[in-house]
Symmetry: C2
Subunit: 339 residues, 2 copies
């Protein structure tokens, strides 16, 4: 009787330490985000809510089709992020927020879980799709990270699509900047917390993670950064391990939120390492970092995560996160508020 109890306990303890596959592994799957922040019911009109939902679903379907046709997870995450970059709804590509100087400076990163190869760019001003430039850095150079004019020179050599900086102008983002500049003038914004409480200030970022039919994972993230950013500030997005990470042995992660906290906590890789070294499940690992470690530090934001079994986890500690997932043989799911 006693032996029986001990054996049962042992099984429970051991199984709680093992990565769990809750449902049969889907043939392929992807998840996306369009930024985390103060996203609450009633904040957007029904028409606006539908616009967000439609664009997220469109992006999911683009990725699904690529994976269904046998495309790689790398191809999938790039093309899905392209859809979100080309939409003025999100803070990446066309909808990027403005810097203090009234310019747009874009960052992006992509990583291949099969090879651990990665490409990232920061401070990009004239490239239409920064994620495509990041993929070129990964594929066509021996380097991982390129910044500023140098990165754009590399883009020219590799015939990436350029746009006039005017392309990134949207009235909504311009007004956000004017509002913040006005508050700064009145000295209403004088510390970090004030920025934290500002809705538009760190709203945005887009990302995609995917598992393809061959079992390869990939992650991609693209952003315009923070409204009113200055001094060439770079957030977590182009930092491999912070905002973006992918490893076939563990998971693929794309993050969104208050970048400084995501850098200091090496959020994306920390989730991967909790799976690899502490043998947590994807959900437990992502929750441990996003819902506990970051919350303790007031580091707001969230992640999308997919593991090698096709499990998807999308925890966020902010009020909402634009997000969606689509598994082989299922229907696409999109959401923006807390459950």
């Amino acid at each position: 009787m006693k032996k029986w109890k001990i054996s049962l306990l042992a099984i429970i303890v051991i199984s709680s330490c093992q990565p769990q596959t809750k449902t049969p592994r889907p043939e392929f799957a992807l998840a996306i985000h369009g930024g985390a922040g103060s996203i609450k019911p009633g904040q957007f009109s029904p028409v606006e809510e539908k616009e967000f939902a439609d664009k997220l679903e469109e992006a999911l379907k683009v990725g699904y089709k690529i994976l269904e046709n046998g495309g790689t997870s790398l191809e999938c995450v790039e093309k899905v992020v392209n859809v979100l970059e080309d939409s003025p709804l999100f803070n990446a590509g066309k909808g990027a927020v403005f810097t203090n100087a009234g310019t747009n400076e874009l960052d992006a990163a992509i990583m291949d879980g099969k090879t651990l190869n990665a490409g990232t760019v920061a401070g990009i001003k004239r490239v239409k799709n920064p994620i495509t430039l990041a993929r070129l850095v990964m594929m066509e150079s021996p380097h991982v990270m390129m910044i500023g004019d140098g990165a754009e020179k590399f883009g020219e050599m590799n015939r990436v699509e350029f746009v006039d900086p005017e392309y990134f102008y949207t009235e909504r983002r311009w007004e956000s900047l004017q509002k913040i500049l006005e508050r700064e003038k009145l000295s209403l914004l004088d510390n970090d917390n004030d920025y934290d409480n500002d809705n538009d200030y760190k709203f945005g970022t887009v990302g995609c993670v995917a598992l393809d039919k061959d079992g390869n994972l990939a992650a991609a993230t693209s952003t315009g950064g923070m409204t009113n950013k200055r001094w060439g500030r770079v957030g977590d997005v182009p930092i491999i391990g912070a905002g973006t990470y992918a490893d076939n042995n563990t998971c693929a992660i794309s993050a969104t939120g208050h970048g400084e906290y995501f850098i200091r906590n090496v959020v994306a890789y920390q989730i991967s390492s909790l799976i690899e070294h502490a043998r947590l499940s994807l959900e437990a690992a992502a929750d441990s970092v996003v819902m506990r470690k970051l919350v303790k530090q007031n580091g707001s934001g969230g992640v999308i995560a997919i593991d090698k079994f096709g499990n998807i986890s999308m925890p966020f500690n902010s009020e909402g996160m634009f997000r969606g997932s689509f598994k082989a043989g299922e229907e696409p799911v999109v959401a923006m508020f807390a459950n």
Copy 2:
């Protein structure tokens, strides 16, 4: 008898999983590096070898004095790196290598293990001590990373010391660039491996890790990057988690080597996470990443590491690494070749 054997086995298994403190914890300690690479006996004249050893010892003594007088590990790592930056011997500050365009673009990072606060800069052209600018980013801004002109503007506001770009000129580094450009013209350098085999190409970087009397850890790294770099390439140094990491709960790390591999493997944080999550000792964790994981990928380089017990580990998989350590009450130790 059987029970006795099982108990012994259990003790061995459990103790092998626990962080080990081999020697009594020193009151304070520090370690430094001046770059890893193809550093072999006979490569330098006895006079040159003495120059390197003297400068490393001088830097160690500067750090030791700060810690002995009750200074913080943060103060220590900055000031020690300043000494190495000001020397033309190492690829950081005054001795920085040249980019393809014949300019110098410097990167640096600093991290405080007590708070997880960090500051990093990349693409710096006119600041004498990039590590000091990185510390200002950490202390005087809400941000972690700043790049290029923006970072220098922030430096101006915070009265960091500027120099004419000419300051970074050294004949030795200029000749290294000319040699590589000549080989490029002759198409002798046409792939990544050729660069890997070039001695001067990725030679250098300086760093310091320290434990102070209050038990606080800190890490700092500064570099001129790779000779002949282009396209605004950024290596692992200013990437928190890759080339630099510090957490009072685990260890402080500063890395040197082929940066792209250090970014993809999140080397500095991976060592920290192996201590935290897999409960390895500092030495086992650092060896696991530098001597196994990186070796498998041909990612050459090394790290200096110190844990909260004052243990120091300095593994490298290249032929040599300029390095040194100094523990409270002991003599300074410097070395450059493999043991």
